[in-house]
């Protein structure tokens, strides 16, 4: 269970995260939405110890995150940030194998290799697995990174804008894979996402942030509503139900 209690973060005198508290629902896809600069990525980074907070608590299974053993924590939560500049010459398979590091410390067993195979297969990269990362398109690279987080096999998977660089086909595929991780493997997935319609169609729970505060949170159906979105984004929305999904038209 991930509980966030009253976290705040300042950059100089600017509050980027202002007293945020939330509890992530288990076994669901939770989407963080909100305008640029709302503090979504910062909250995600603080929740996963990548960034220090000025105040507040992060409890993972009731235990403060800073007191966790690093290896054990890496098996519990996996995080993928939006910018990944890797300076090394790696093949997809080598990158995905790194995901097993918390489990095997770099010496991959047959079981670890199997997990790597599965993660690569999940992301449909089997044919490309021996290609070097610098030879790939942006979308293929993004999928390779996601495969690495999947190979990490953590209970919680946090992704910061996983649909970056992806076309509609691959975006939809990735969201379906995330659904599969939740529905079939019982993982909890937390994503930061900009495309409101992807959030609406694939997530169970939505947390909307604005100016470093939680503006609204609740099940997807309750949040994807004209009035709420107009208030968060300060623009006009037209929300229509198509095939049982709330679709936003805001162009």
């Amino acid at each position: 269970m991930i509980q966030v209690k009253n976290i705040s973060k300042m950059y100089d005198s600017k509050k980027v995260v202002d007293n945020v508290s939330l509890e992530i629902p288990e076994g669901k896809i939770t989407s963080f939405i909100g305008p640029n600069g709302a503090g979504k990525s910062t909250v995600l980074s603080i929740m996963t110890r990548l960034m220090k907070r000025d105040s507040g608590e992060i409890l993972i299974d009731g235990k403060e995150i800073t007191t966790w053993d690093q290896k054990a924590l890496a098996k519990k939560i996996g995080i993928l940030k939006q910018s990944n500049n890797i300076n090394m010459r790696l093949t997809i398979r080598e990158l995905v194998s790194f995901g097993r590091f918390p489990h095997c410390g770099g010496n991959l067993s047959a079981e670890d290799e199997k997990q790597v195979d599965e993660a690569i297969g999940y992301m449909q990269l089997t044919d490309l697995q021996d290609c070097y990362l610098d030879e790939l398109s942006g979308g293929q690279r993004q999928r390779a990174y996601i495969a690495m987080v999947i190979a990490q096999d953590s209970e919680y998977i946090l992704l910061d804008e996983p649909l970056n660089n992806l076309d509609m086909k691959h975006s939809a595929e990735i969201m379906k894979i995330l659904r599969k991780l939740v529905d079939e493997l019982g993982k909890t997935v937390i994503i930061v996402i900009h495309d409101i319609n992807f959030a609406s169609c694939y997530s169970d729970y939505i947390v909307a942030l604005k100016d470093g505060k939680i503006a609204k949170e609740g099940p997807t159906q309750e949040i994807i509503q004209k009035e709420i979105l107009e208030e968060i984004y300060e623009m006009l929305f037209n929300v229509q139900e198509i095939n049982g999904q709330n679709i936003c038209i805001y162009f």
């Binding site: 996963t48 110890r49 990548l50 690093q70 290896k71 054990a72 924590l73 890496a74 098996k75 996996g78 995080i79 993928l80 940030k81 990944n84 500049n85 890797i86 300076n87 090394m88 010459r89 790696l90 080598e94 790194f98 995901g99 590091f101 918390p102 410390g105 770099g106 010496n107 990490q152």
Partner: protein, 320 residues
């Protein structure tokens, strides 16, 4: 150590090249009547070359990993500037024949001692205040290094020209006057650092993915960066005190190793770097000693050839 097939071939070639060059260097122009003397001079040199080559190469590799930057070397920490400042100060205040300069042992102990001491002080100052930013340390290193260089130049221009020659001699890496006792100290420091670092090889591989990924994968990033910095400082200080400023070699061998090998693994790369250092330094020393009869120092030869190689890499990279 799992090594890819194509990398194995490169390693075999490098091993053969290293052994051939070492044999060539040791056995050239060996007088049957006095081979004992010649070897007693050459063997410590070869040993010092292997030791410093390994120290400089490995410290550069680790430094590039923890800074996530492939064009930095530990020289940015300002240790070689400090080394020059120390030697210049001694010559300036006393003379070039003072025992702190002439006696290799005392000179080694003085320079390593001060380099390590100064590093500890800066390290404490930078990391004490909740600040974990390594780039802040590098910035301070650059500024302090420049200050040291200016002070050195200031003293050098006031100096007697004959005294200045001694200092100029110190400013270039040289394996010509290796003292056995000093070599023992250096061996303990350098081999000790390697043994300590050996268990961090896999962790360093993960750290190559960058800070966020490394933390995600359960690496205690900030702690290990600090530990590795200590290793780098020990290696750089020891090798500089042993043969003079030689950090330029690091940039060269590490990049050549990365270019040749299809591996990201620190264990494989370290071994490759060691071999390339041996080829470069023993080859350079051979040219300097046997072909040019000590007319040119080994660092000039390596900079010359290394520079050409880099230009070649740049040209090749542009046409791709």
């Amino acid at each position: 150590m799992k090594v890819k097939a194509q990398d194995k071939k490169i390693l075999v070639v490098l091993i053969i090249a290293s052994i051939t060059l070492i044999a060539l260097y040791l056995l050239t122009e060996l007088n049957p009547n006095a081979y004992g003397y010649a070897l007693s001079r050459r063997i410590p040199r070869v040993y010092a070359i292997i030791l410093t080559g390994a120290a400089v190469g490995f410290s550069s590799l680790v430094f590039q990993t923890i800074t996530n930057n492939h064009i930095l070397t530990p020289s940015i920490l300002g240790l070689d500037s400090l080394y020059m400042l120390l030697n210049t100060t001694v010559v300036f205040l006393f003379s070039s024949t003072h025992k702190l300069i002439v006696n290799a042992n005392t000179n080694f102990l003085l320079t390593t001692g001060v380099m390590l001491g100064t590093s500890v002080i800066f390290y404490k100052l930078v990391f004490s205040k909740k600040n974990n930013n390594i780039f802040f340390l590098l910035l301070i290193g650059v500024i302090i290094g420049t200050l040291f260089e200016s002070l050195t130049t200031f003293m050098q221009v006031l100096m007697d020209p004959n005294e200045f020659l001694t200092i100029q001699d110190k400013s270039q890496a040289s394996f010509n006057n290796i003292n056995i006792k000093v070599l023992t100290f250096a061996t303990i420091a350098i081999v000790g650092s390697f043994i300590y670092s050996a268990r961090f090889m896999k962790v360093l591989d993960v750290m190559g993915l960058g800070r966020d990924q490394a933390i995600n994968l359960g690496v205690d990033y900030d702690k290990i960066v600090k530990r590795m910095l200590v290793v780098i400082v020990i290696l750089t200080a020891t090798s500089t005190a042993l043969v003079g400023p030689i950090t330029f070699l690091g940039l060269l061998v590490v990049n050549i190793a990365r270019y040749m090998m299809h591996s990201y693994k620190h264990s494989t790369l370290s071994f490759t770097i060691l071999l390339i250092s041996i080829v470069a330094l023993v080859g350079g020393q051979y040219v300097a000693e046997h072909l040019l009869k000590f007319g040119v120092s080994v660092s000039i030869i390596i900079n010359f050839i290394g520079g050409i190689y880099f230009i070649y890499l740049l040209m090749k990279g542009r046409t791709q």
